[in-house]
């Protein structure tokens, strides 16, 4: 498997199909990190396996002109598809080397983001690397984390999130790592007027996370990178997954799966069932 990843990346770089390839390499301490290589010779350093949790779509400069090769898992591939749907990237700009992801573990335990996996291979790719004993599949992911939140009464939910948001240090790692958080100027950076206060305090923390959750509604592909990157463990994945369920129940829309889809907020049906009364909200 690793051999075919190295072979393909090397071939694409060698024949000039791409200018750069984004994949993973192992550091001397044994940890795995994302890497961008530009020479075919460097392809021999590429690896894949446990630890390769990062969503490599975060490393694509959407406004750039370079042609980029990408090693994409299912979750990363959904981000690419959603970005294509939103008109932020042309399919031709990237060469996709898809992997049929076996699910990633850390110390023998499945990564939390893998529990929410919906599709284990990217929906679009140019070449697909097989993994021994793993077939490509699509499934309805477990919703245990969302169900746990929904089982609480509304005031308890609010209190729960208020206390979780309270320790946010507003480093914006969640925003910066998110492949779908691509505004040229974030609402937090706007000064005239300043909608969101930048200081760390409960009310502005709450406001920031709610704005982000709403901005990702119908767009988040549940890759879990926000959750994983948070230095203080704010449970952002469950918040975004809850929003995704709301959108799915109202409009039957799952982001990042169908490259021909229209963004859910860009579509309007005259007989829209949930136009005036959002049903299904619990």
């Amino acid at each position: 498997m690793i051999d075919s990843i190295r072979e393909t990346a090397g071939r694409w770089l060698g024949d000039g199909t791409i200018d750069a390839f984004v994949g993973f390499r192992r550091r001397e301490d044994g940890s795995v990190v994302p890497t961008r290589i530009r020479k075919a010779a460097d392809a021999r350093r590429l690896v894949f396996g446990d630890g390769c949790v990062h969503n490599l779509m975060s490393y694509v400069d959407l406004g750039g002109e370079e042609k980029i090769g990408l090693l994409l898992k299912g979750c990363d591939g959904r981000a690419l598809v959603q970005l294509m749907i939103e008109g932020e990237i042309e399919r031709e700009r990237v060469k996709v080397l898809g992997v049929v992801c076996p699910g990633l573990s850390s110390d023998g335990v499945l990564e939390p983001k893998c529990e929410a996996c919906r599709v284990n291979a990217p929906p679009v790719y140019d070449e697909l690397v097989a993994t021994d004993g793993v077939e490509p599949w699509e499934r309805e992911p477990s919703l245990d984390d969302v169900a746990a939140i929904e089982s609480k009464p509304h005031p308890d939910r609010a209190a729960h999130f208020a206390s979780e948001f309270d320790r946010c240090v507003r480093c914006y790692a969640c925003r910066d790592v998110c492949p779908l958080c691509y505004c040229e100027e974030c609402v937090t950076e706007k000064a005239r007027p300043q909608w969101v206060e930048e200081t760390i305090k409960p009310s502005s923390n709450f406001y920031w996370h709610l704005i982000r959750a709403y901005h990702l509604a119908g767009r988040c592909v549940e890759c879990g990178e926000c959750d994983r990157s948070c230095p203080v463990g704010v449970p952002l994945k469950v918040l975004n997954r809850k929003m995704a369920r709301e959108v799915e129940s109202m409009f039957g829309y799952v982001p990042g799966v169908d490259p021909e889809a229209t963004p859910v907020l860009l579509e309007f049906k005259e007989d829209e069932e949930h136009l005036l009364c959002p049903g299904g909200v619990t």
Binding site: G87, W195, P263, L265
Partner: protein, 667 residues
Amino acid sequence: MRKVGVFVCHCGTNIAAMVDVAKVVEESRDLPEVVFATDYQFTCSAPGQDQIKDAIREHNLDGVVVAACSPRMHEPTFRNAVAGAGLNPYLVEMANIREHDSWVATDRDEATRKAVDLVRMKVKKVAKLEPLEEIRLPVTKKALVIGGGVAGIQAALDIANTGIDVLLVEKEPSIGGHMAQYDKTFPTLDCASCILTPRMVEAAQHPRITLHTYSEVAEVSGFVGDFEVKIRMRARSIDLEKCTGCGDCLEKCPVKVPSEFDAGLADRGAVYRPFPQAVPNVPVIDREHCTYFLKDGKCGICQKICPTDAIDYSGDDEIITEKVGAIVVATGFHFFDAAKYTEYGYGAYPDVISWLQYERLTNASGPTGGKLKRLSDGKEPETIVFIHCVGSRDPSKGFPYCSRICCMATAKHAVIARSKLPNAQIFSFYIDIRAAGKGYEEFVRRAIENEDVQFIKGRPARVLSKNGKLIVRSENAFTGRPMEVDADLVVLTNGAQAQDDAPELALILGIGYDQYGFYTELHPKLRPVETNRAGIFLAGMCQGPKDIPESVSQASAAAAKALQILSKGELAREPQVAEVNAMRCTGCMDCREVCFYTAIEEDEFMRRKVAKVNPGVCQGCGACVAHCPDGALEMKIFNDEQIHAEITGLFAVPSAGAAGGGGAARE
């Protein structure tokens, strides 16, 4: 800092009765931006406007807040007033303390406090306003009139007679509309054709009018003064130039189709013209019924006998593109399908007929040559019953409105029946008689008193057929008892309905329509012929039921409105348009998808794709602003900073001294 003046209007007692106007003035004086504040009974009146102008000059104001009504009506008034004193007209804001406050409030103290808040919000917003310049756009001096009935013809003639070109588009093979089908018109009983056909000819021969019959509007883009219209000209199959209208083809066509013009009482061929006086006089080939088209080139008789070689089976529908500056919509109506009243037996009993069938039966040029007879056995009816309100004023059938013309039409029908059958018994069952119009009541009285028509207040429950007679069962509201009439002929006065495709055309035109499909005027009283889309006007039945004189008046009104645009070389447009902040734009172009007016174009900024608004096309609806995921679009006069100023203005200073516990809610 801006120097803002505040002008609080009493609106007579509309505002002053519920809001302490003096207190609003006094409190607004405490705001640092406010250098002048006053009140007046009617700020929109000439002295009221002078008050504003004087204050601008005297106090050097560079911002004005008028606390009065909704901006819908009087924002232009105050913009003009401000401009009259030399201040940029876009530095004025209205605080709506009438609709949003005095009219809905029940407590004077609360209402006053709210008025103070609303004024403070607007003062803060005015401080953030920027002077704007009007957008000037050239005008295409040509009009499009959709629909060639009496209203469309009138509008086309009125516009063309000022020397401006008109395109008159009609769906049917001939202009004329429903009026061409009628026998006579109320209340004067002059013959419909005699007054209409000369108008039809005048329109067709007018050097400024281009007629497109058998054609439909397929697409409208652009904006007031510069619309681009695509017109689908259905394949007529007969050359308009070569055909002399001799009618030989009509005689020989082997196909028989019920004639729409004669309401199904006679047949027409597949090649046909609706009626002998059709304009243009050139027939069309109805391809859905023509043997040549249905059976792969078999038949072709009309082509063989045509003396001028005008018949061409090969042509397809053609789409032409035209530029126009204004559009008049006069697409008319259709009659309610009387068969929906199964209780009256229309369609089941041949002698239960509709309004239009009755018109054709009494018309001298109709299928019976004007002889009023039963369709079943050709006998003259001895007893005739007219039933009003079939498909009108009947919520159970989904048509609660009054069709407005049927009472008079029925009176007309009854008087015509009397003139043809002096000895017949004539009944007219009605709910109420609505005869408001010049000479209308007198005409109904004439039918009752001079023509011996028995008007009976009551809505018939059923029409049954028994031994060759039609039994009309009804209540009689005067006696309070049920009654029955043995009739030979029953005429159902079916109401007026919006055209079936009215909503489709509304989407093409971008105009509104009500729950019945009638097009919506911009203001029911003061802007009765304008629509929500600037440059598109309404005439006739498409806007709601009305009779011929009303339709014609409205057509002339629509023409006058269109001419207000077409008579100018260029138009001034308000500059409240959307604007892209290219720094923030990510180029997703969602704005282009949501823009109804095709105002969004692609542009490049710092070597990347961004959106750009064409200010000449933008109508300032704000759809793109609301949608933009990146907050890159802003509306002039409603930009984030201005709205933020309003919001912080609301929460900045709790108004003191007002009663009630509102203070706690506004921390």
